[in-house]
Symmetry: C2
DNA sequence: TGATAATGCTGAAGGAGATTCTGTTACAAG
DNA sequence: CTTGTAACAGAATCTCCTTCAGCATTATCA
């Protein structure tokens, strides 16, 4: 599906989507129009979902990041649970396998705003419990990578 | 720090960073050069961290998304723990407050590749336990929002 | 209060880059 | 061997980025 050219182009776009097609072409070994065509294809194929600016949470007034595990009765996409996604503080929302039903990634002004959000969550029918993990420090936060080929097994197995 | 113009510009760039300055200007009520100047300022101020392409994990060969809680002895940025960030499968890495020390967001080819990664994590000194939450379904995944003003308290408080 | 400087805007203009077009090559199918 | 398709390079056009010159507004300070 993706050849080496595509991976190099995607790698460049993930690193900096502001690069000119000519410069990406140098890096990938293609002409600017060739890169243009491939990017257009990758877009319409859905490989590139969107091109967006990444913002600093602190600068936009939301310095507190937290992961919230939400326990629910029932499963999957109930209309009620989808309400959680309507809060602008909620950035991600995944149903997961494990000892909880849902994991939310939320960003708020501070601890009080988080408490306020949690109170709102409990109003939703089906929400039975929650556990919050407040982020103290982020050591890594990068977009989905495409340029690294994952030939499994890739890392040496631990001895023993 | 950020006025209403900035928020509108940021909102547009988060939605689609490929928009022309002229079009953003229409939306925000400014001329193209004004938008250009503001974006330059927002970049150098660090409000805009980067502009990147968001890729579809499945299309790039990493369909399995999981959150991994890692328990460690000791805290903070030990050089050993930082090794976790060197795996290309690890997209995010946060130290958190709660009943675990570290939360990782990882994306792998499949369950076996996840197991393989976990085995690698246990090789790192200081790692004592881990719990994985495999994502079954993602209902929401959006970048940091800046256009929504968070006037706390914003949501009506639940009536007891 | 009034003079001066600084900031931030608009509209025009030049230049860089995006996008289209044409011709060519490589490869696959018949 | 012939034909058709896919994908590329180079040239050309056209859009948009980026700079520049003035102007309005606001802040600073005498």
């Amino acid at each position: 599906m993706l050849d080496a050219f595509d991976r190099k182009i995607l790698g460049a776009l993930v690193e900096d989507a502001g690069l000119s097609y000519a410069r990406i072409g140098e890096r990938a070994g293609l002409s600017a129009p060739a890169v243009f065509e491939r990017v257009k294809r990758l877009r319409s194929a859905g490989v590139i979902e969107s091109v967006t600016a990444r913002l600093d949470g602190e600068s936009v007034g939301k310095p507190l990041l937290a992961f919230v595990h939400v326990d629910t009765t029932g499963w999957g996409k109930s209309e009620r649970l989808m309400r959680m996604g309507e809060f602008p503080e909620v950035e991600e929302m995944h149903s997961v396998a494990g000892d909880t039903g849902m994991i939310l990634k939320v960003r708020t002004q501070g601890p009080q705003a988080l408490e306020h959000l949690l109170l709102q969550l409990y109003v939703i029918p089906g929400v039975t419990a929650s556990r919050s993990y407040v982020v103290l420090s982020t050591y890594l936060d990068r977009p989905v990578q495409a340029d690294v080929t994952l030939d499994w097994p890739k890392h040496p197995l631990p001895k023993e």
